[in-house]
């Protein structure tokens, strides 16, 4: 029964994402809400009709009641702030490191030969395997959690940036050469705009992994945060609290992803891609 809950909570995230990536995010959010709302409503009705006790999979009304309760006591805000701070800090570090290293290995062949094999080897290690070491090195408080999240964010960003730079069209770089662009001008006027679409995707993937690792970090040992709410709900047998935390994760994950999309959209209007609605620009 519990696994079923997670299964029904997950698809609502992915359908939302699919809908927004295919059309401009703000275009028709209502259509994306149709599926999750109808699933929630039918579960509510089933429980109300007595077809299910709703003990292990509490109905939406009960989840919302828990949410309201947590919000009222200020607990919710405290947990959200803790988790959001961790994700954003880890994301920040991961993005900075991934971008710099990825740009270096993408642009400069010697750096690629020197560094990339080691980075790829590190990437092959399941990131959670670092946890014991991080706890020994950095303690059980914030630093080790943020380090874990940063590692999760680092690899997709690194790969995305390096791959994007390597796959910039030689023909377009040649245009820059014929107009005698200097190194920095070539980066600013040709390489940066050319890699931007792939970079935005890398950031979104990185952010998704950041959310994944924050849960791992908070499940391992935390006294606040949404991951702590999950664990607490499991240990005290409060499925409504677990579901509440999951719903908050879905909302936060979706919102932060959407923010990246919104910020990037004006810079990517020029794209000539399958996903764009015709008659744009």
């Amino acid at each position: 029964m519990t696994s079923e809950t997670i299964a029904t909570a997950k698809p609502e995230i992915s359908t939302n994402e699919a809908a927004t990536s295919r059309r401009p995010s703000y275009a028709r959010p209502l259509l994306g809400l149709l599926l999750p709302i109808s699933v929630a409503l039918s579960w509510e009705i089933m429980v109300r009709l007595g077809l299910s006790s709703g003990r292990l999979v509490p109905p939406p009304s009960k989840v919302f009641a828990t949410l309201a309760e947590l919000a009222e006591s200020g607990e919710l805000l405290r947990h959200i702030t803790a988790t959001l701070t961790r994700v954003m800090t880890g994301f920040g570090f991961g993005v900075i490191a991934g971008t710099m290293l990825g740009a270096m290995t993408g642009y400069w062949e010697l750096a690629r030969r020197l560094l990339d094999p080691s980075v790829q080897a590190l990437r092959a290690i399941p990131s959670l395997a670092w946890v014991p070491l991080f706890i020994l090195w950095l303690g059980i408080f914030e630093t080790s959690k943020i380090a874990l999240i940063a590692i999760g964010v680092f690899f997709p960003v690194y790969l995305g940036v390096m791959g994007a730079i390597l796959s910039v069209d030689r023909k377009i770089v040649e245009v820059g050469r014929t107009f005698r662009l200097s190194g920095p001008a070539m980066i600013r006027r040709i390489l940066l705009p050319a890699v931007l679409p792939a970079y935005v995707v890398a950031l979104r993937v990185g952010l998704g992994l950041g959310w994944m690792f924050v849960v791992a970090a908070e499940l391992i040992g935390a006294s606040e945060g949404l991951g702590y709410l999950l664990l607490d709900g499991q240990q005290l047998g409060k499925p409504a609290q677990i579901l509440a935390a999951i719903v908050i994760f879905a909302i936060l994950g979706k919102t932060t992803d959407w923010l990246i999309e919104i910020v990037a959209a004006p810079f990517l209007r020029w794209q000539d891609v399958f996903g764009r609605k015709s008659g744009g620009a």
């Binding site: 023909k171 377009i172 040649e174 245009v175 050469r177 014929t178 107009f179 005698r180 001008a185 006027r189 040709i190 705009p193 050319a194 931007l196 209007r269 020029w270 794209q271 000539d272 620009a281």
Partner: protein
């Protein structure tokens, strides 16, 4: 004056693409380079552009050796190669790095009018047809007012009608500032309609085979008997350049009546 002196190019993989190509092109002259595939015509153009410098020999423009892209040399490729993230106007102004804003705007506007795309200034490259995109590429190359403009099969990807239209268009644009044009093509019609001189090259290794002067006034009538006559000469030279039994001509014949051995 553009001087090519014994330009020779061997690629790192050992392919001898170009063998001792020498020619002198005067300012304002239009030269077409024609030849079968693999005869080194694009290699030659890239050497002149400074993109892939020659292995030996030299390219000099007004006494300056060209080993890297030069401000006075512009190039138009087979594909438009517009930057998809810049509007049409910004693409045209791409080569005007350090020009003041007002001058820049004026020159872009002028170029847009000249290529007949004034209404497309704010459009994205993806919204243009193939012919329009290539016109933007021509405008982009001409706006910095190069002394030499190189064209690497610029119209080969277009349909016959658009191609003719753009050939006439190119001549109009050329007439304004009269730069030197060096055009690589595999289209005999195109060579005869545009060029003052046609260089016929032969492959393996790529070298100059014949040079044909086109003594026709402009505008040229594609249907006149004179035009046909020159076309036939170029075609004959082209056929002979691909015939292995014909040896290289020692002396260049300006009439195209190459020597029989």
């Amino acid at each position: 004056m553009l001087v090519l002196d014994a330009v020779d190019k061997t690629y790192p993989n050992g392919v001898h693409a170009l063998e001792r190509f020498s020619a002198t092109v005067n300012l304002g002259e239009i030269v077409a380079i024609i030849g079968g595939s693999g005869c080194g015509k694009s290699t030659l153009l890239r050497a002149v552009a400074g993109l892939d410098p020659a292995t030996s020999g030299s390219v000099t423009l007004d006494g300056t050796a060209i080993t890297a892209p030069h401000a006075k040399i512009g190039i138009i490729f087979q594909e438009p190669r517009l930057l998809p993230w810049l509007s049409v106007a910004d693409n045209i102004g791409f080569g005007l790095g350090d020009v003041p804003t007002e001058v820049r705007r004026a020159r872009i506007a002028h170029a847009l009018t000249k290529v007949g795309l004034a209404d497309k200034a704010k459009a994205w490259p993806r919204e243009l047809s193939g012919g329009q995109a290539q016109r933007v590429a021509i405008a982009r190359a001409l706006v910095p007012q190069p002394e030499v403009l190189l064209l690497d099969e610029p119209f080969s990807a277009l349909d016959a009608f658009t191609r003719r239209d753009l050939q006439d268009h190119l001549l109009d644009l050329w007439a304004e500032t009269r730069p030197t044009l060096v055009l690589v093509t595999h289209d005999v019609d195109e060579a005869v309609v545009l060029a003052d001189r046609v260089f016929v090259m032969r492959p393996r290794p790529g070298r100059l085979f014949d040079e044909i002067k086109i003594n026709l006034g402009r505008p040229r009538d594609r249907n006149s008997p004179h035009f046909d006559n020159f076309k036939r000469r170029v075609l004959t030279a082209l056929d002979r350049s691909l015939d292995r039994s014909v040896r290289d001509a020692e002396t260049k014949s300006s009439t195209g009546e190459a020597l029989w051995w």
